[in-house]
């Protein structure tokens, strides 16, 4: 049914777009439609910055205005041809967008929204006061308009089809962008910036690109407005216009690019269609907006996303049936153990891969890490244990570049400390978080694809990334979830997807912050098998774990932290017997009971920890 509905809908839309000009509809209606196409392009930029990258921009009208004034002035003062003026205006506005992007790395969230609002006001004041350049409050008039004589008699008619076509092309471009690697990165930054950085997304670059795209489409829209109307004034680009563009994006469903197009069309055309209600038409428009948001809480995007179909989402994996067992880890573990048996011998365990040297970190007055030094030997599974508040998570955060520390952390001689998390990831350090941090609006497959890392000698390109990501999911036994939205998964499933996300880039070091938390007891040992297999593939693993049973069964070596100090380092069994460790866990002197009982109590105690992880 849907196979016939979608082309039919497109035919209807094509007819609806061509009909006004073919029927010779008068230029008032055509002008309103032209404005709709132009505003749709401006809102497209906003849709990428706010909807896709999560950066709230309340000053899009200013960016449109800069594009409009620049196009006009370049044509009027320098007599440039329209296309060159438009292009230069886009470059100029893109530079403003890049500056905004750099600001956005310092100022975030609502504060950034206020900054963009201020940009809008600054633009208005400059445009009003720099009369010699901008024409002041009366604006610039008699700007050369773009006339395509072959098409029809008036400019409104001539530009109608080109503008509509340009709008569709720009939306198609952005829809392709949305599912490209860069688009995925932008969405990852929107959903969880910290996780994105830790998984290799350069958030500074991503945001700068988002703002540049936002301003480029803004400038194009402003330039087209000038070419159509031949007039600009500061009142074209007020904050109210910025809010109107934001309304287009929200009405179209925040995050849905095709929805924005429909949002822009509704916001531009509906008030005009309601004009005959005279004084109350804007109130009726407001009521219509409320009704749309009530009927379609996700905006008009639901419908438009359906229209674009697989062009929007990309090729979908055929859904595999879920293997038996709730998490199918058993199957993966079985595969892993057979692979272990058949696979290559364990890599040479040898010299240190990662060296942690005199690392300290304080939070206010609390010393979370105090001159901690240890080595991670190539090819080992190293356990990092300690009571609550001993600095384990801080250590993992330091090694993955999420927190800054004093001291040094080196990977194969490269210093890692205080480098941005994405650089640390590029060196080959991947991690999972204690509380799962997936990018919830993205599919499971996209989640994994974002974290892919270029490894010399390995194939790259979209198809290779996709293959590698599916393989990683398979390895964790969750390939059948690939097309599910990450936010819909259970905790256990999310944990496994996060594992897949961590290993897809074939990291040299895998940092696992309590990987067993949230897994059912029976699955815990299967996890251990999987870690063995990852080690066999050449990964070195640093794992924070509460469950001594798991630690003793899977770790080659253990380091123990207590209140930020390293108190033991050695084979699991030996460490469990260390008086300092026993005291840290039980808070009593080492000679108070026999070693045997104390070791048992530690195990029990650590299980209690695991019940309430923290």
């Amino acid at each position: 049914m849907s196979s016939f509905l979608r082309p039919a809908a497109w035919l209807l839309i094509a007819a609806a777009i061509v009909a006004p000009i073919a029927m010779g509809m008068n230029t008032y209606y055509l002008h309103v439609l032209n404005l709709a196409w132009i505003f749709a392009i401006a809102a497209l930029g906003l849709s990428v910055a706010t909807g896709v990258a999560g950066q709230i921009v309340l000053g899009q009208a200013a960016l449109v205005g800069i594009g409009a004034y620049a196009t006009a002035l370049l044509m009027m003062r320098l007599s440039l041809p329209w296309w060159l003026a438009l292009l230069l205006a886009m470059v100029l506005t893109g530079a403003v967008g890049a500056a905004l992007g750099l600001i956005s790395t310092r100022i975030k969230g609502h504060y950034l929204a206020i900054v963009t609002l201020a940009l809008n006001e600054i633009f208005r004041i400059v445009a009003v006061n720099e009369e010699a350049l901008t024409g002041g409050p009366m604006g610039l008039r008699n700007i050369p308009t773009l006339s395509i004589p072959g098409l029809s008699e008036t400019i409104t008619q001539q530009l109608y089809l080109p503008l509509a076509g340009l709008m569709f092309v720009s939306y198609a471009l952005m829809i392709v962008f949305h599912r490209s690697a860069l688009g995925r990165e932008l969405r990852a930054v929107r959903d969880d910036e910290m996780a994105a950085e830790a998984m290799g997304v350069n958030s500074v670059r991503a945001k700068t690109i988002a703002f540049m795209i936002c301003s480029l489409w803004g400038a194009l829209s402003g330039g087209l407005y000038v070419l159509l109307v031949g007039f600009v004034a500061p009142t074209n680009f007020t904050i109210a216009e910025s809010i109107k563009m934001m309304l287009m994006v929200v009405l179209g469903g925040l995050g849905s690019i095709p929805g924005t197009m429909l949002g822009a069309i509704v916001v531009t055309i509906l008030p005009e269609a309601l004009r005959d209600l005279q004084t109350y038409y804007m109130a009726a428009f407001g009521a219509a907006v409320v009704i749309i948001m009530l009927v379609w809480p996700k905006g008009l995007g639901v419908f438009s996303d359906w229209l674009w179909g697989s062009f929007l989402t990309g090729r979908r994996e055929p859904e595999l049936s879920a293997p038996a067992g709730p998490l199918s880890l058993a199957a993966a573990a079985a595969a892993a153990s057979s692979a272990l048996a058949a696979g290559p011998a364990l890599p040479e365990t040898g010299g240190p891969l990662m060296r942690v040297h005199k690392v300290s970190r304080t939070f206010g007055g609390v010393r979370a890490l105090n001159d901690v030094s240890f080595d991670v030997i190539r090819g080992e599974i190293l356990g990092l244990i300690g009571p609550n508040g001993s600095g384990k998570s801080t250590m993992i955060n330091a090694c993955s570049g999420v927190v800054h520390v004093d001291g040094s952390i080196e990977l194969e001689g490269h210093p890692l400390q205080n480098h941005p998390a994405w650089e640390v990831h590029a060196y080959g350090v991947a991690r999972i978080f204690q509380n799962v941090r997936l990018w919830e609006s993205m599919t499971v497959l996209e989640n994994v694809m974002v974290a892919w890392r270029r490894v010399p000698g390995q194939p790259s390109g979209e198809a290779a990334i996709r293959e590698a990501s599916l393989a990683a999911l398979e390895q964790m036994g969750v390939r059948h979830l690939a097309m599910r939205q990450a936010g819909d998964l259970s905790f256990g499933q999310s944990r496994l997807v996060e594992m897949a996300r961590a290993i897809v880039g074939r990291p040299k070091v895998l940092l696992l912050d309590e990987p067993a938390a949230g897994l059912r007891g029976g699955l815990v040992l299967e996890l251990s098998t999987i870690l063995q297999r990852l080690r066999a593939q050449g990964m070195t693993i640093l794992v924070v774990e509460h469950r001594i049973k798991l630690v003793t069964s899977m770790c080659d070596r253990v380091v123990v932290l207590n209140l930020g100090d390293l108190i033991a380092d050695g084979a699991p069994a030996a460490v469990m017997e260390s008086p300092a460790v026993i005291e840290a866990y039980l808070g009593e002197r080492a000679d108070a009971a026999s070693h045997e009982t104390r070791a048992r109590r530690i195990r029990r105690r650590s299980v209690n920890h695991a019940v309430a992880p923290g």
Partner: protein, 383 residues
């Protein structure tokens, strides 16, 4: 599968809804039965909606009067109103387009604001419609557009009238200072005042500015006093201007104020006794003893239960003037109507109208002084 099907049905419904909405657009236009002669582009929504109401009531009263006197071209005059959202250029372009393309009237009243005039002249100056406006920006009739008729004197005349009155009647030409709001309204007013003074060989003793919505003006007032000003030309918004004259009175400062808004209702109410003696160049005050004005005020109050303001009077006059021109032209032909404006004379509320080639029909402002809390017309200045 089931879920998918319902989704498709929904989408189909939505699509049907959208196409229905699109399809109704042209139908609305076709529904209008008889061709009105005048389209009115005025603010009905947005921040200027309140002044737009006075605008509309002025037009409505004029239509009643015109129709009582026999209508236009032998038929009762019909007009259509379209919202231009005040100084919103896109709103104005849409309203003007609709009036021209859908209603196809030969005459249009509005848009009112200078910036919306400048934005829409590209659209309407093609010989298809004549626009009557009260916009006072100097460029409105200097842009080469042949189809604009302006019914109020421009901003330069307002500034010139104040300065000449200050020099001739108050002998304060060389003891005048300027105090303005630092925004587009105040800045352009200030520039025109200084330019008009320069034309008479005068220079302001001091030029001070304030930010709109400031609350304390003592620093600037002290500077104006120290400069020895006798008259301060005040180009500020009505609420700010009221605070300024009040504070000047509290400090017992020796100078008088003159400006653009110092006879408006909001200013008078807020300034109270501080307004006493303030001078302004204004187009219309309801206290004007001119019998035509008094009759208008009385009938307006009877009909709308409120006092008329400058907007009501301006567009009452514009509507009457338009009706006279259409009658003089004898048809709805745009070129003939435009030509007729050159010969039509009308003694209106704001002035005695007579249009020149550029379309300026009014070169008059009233010098108004506040006496006993009421604006009193001191002189009518004509150029």
């Amino acid at each position: 599968m089931n879920r998918k099907t319902t989704m498709d049905m929904r989408s189909l419904l939505a699509l049907a809804g959208v196409s229905a909405a699109l399809a109704t657009m042209p139908l609305n236009g076709a529904a209008a039965q008889e061709q009105p002669l005048i389209g009115v582009s005025l603010p009905m929504t947005g921040s200027k909606a309140l002044v737009g109401r006075n605008f509309k009531q002025g037009v409505e009263l004029a239509i009643a009067d015109i129709n009582a006197a026999g209508g236009v071209l032998g038929k009762p005059l019909q007009v259509v109103f379209e919202d231009d959202q005040g100084d919103n250029t896109n709103g104005a372009i849409n309203a003007v387009n609709k009036i021209m393309q859908v209603h196809k009237t030969p005459v249009m009243i509005g848009p009112h604001y200078s910036v919306t005039q400048m934005a829409t002249q590209n659209v309407y100056c093609n010989g298809k419609i004549v626009s009557l406006t009260g916009a006072t920006g100097v460029p409105v009739t200097n842009s080469g557009c042949k189809y604009v008729i302006r019914t109020r004197s421009n901003d330069d005349i307002q500034a010139k009238a104040i300065i000449e009155y200050a020099q001739k009647e108050l002998n304060a030409g060389d003891k005048t200072a300027v105090f303005y709001a630092n925004d587009d309204f105040g800045k352009s007013g200030q520039a025109r005042v200084v330019a008009q003074m320069a034309a008479l060989g005068l220079k302001p003793l001091a030029v001070e500015s304030h930010n709109p919505n400031d609350k304390d003006y003592s620093a600037q007032l002290a500077k104006l006093k120290n400069a020895g000003a006798v008259l301060v030309v005040l180009w500020a918004h009505d609420t700010d201007a009221a605070l300024i004259v009040k504070q000047a009175k509290q400090f017992g400062l020796p100078f008088r104020f003159a400006g653009a808004v110092l006879s408006e209702d909001a200013f008078l109410k807020l300034a109270g006794s501080g307004a006493e003696g303030a001078i302004s160049a204004s187009y219309f005050v309801p206290t004007d003893p001119n019998p035509a004005v008094q009759t208008f005020v009385k009938r307006y109050e009877e009909r709308f239960k409120m006092a008329p303001d400058v907007w009501s009077a301006t567009y009452y006059d514009a509507t009457v003037l338009a009706a006279k021109a259409i009658n003089a032209a004898g048809s709805g032909d745009v070129a003939k109507i435009r030509e007729a404006f050159g010969s039509v004379k009308y003694d209106g509320l704001l002035a005695s109208y007579g249009c020149d080639d550029k379309g300026d029909c009014n070169r008059q402002v009233n010098i108004v002084e506040i006496k006993g809390g009421q604006p009193v017309v001191r002189a009518a200045v004509r150029y």
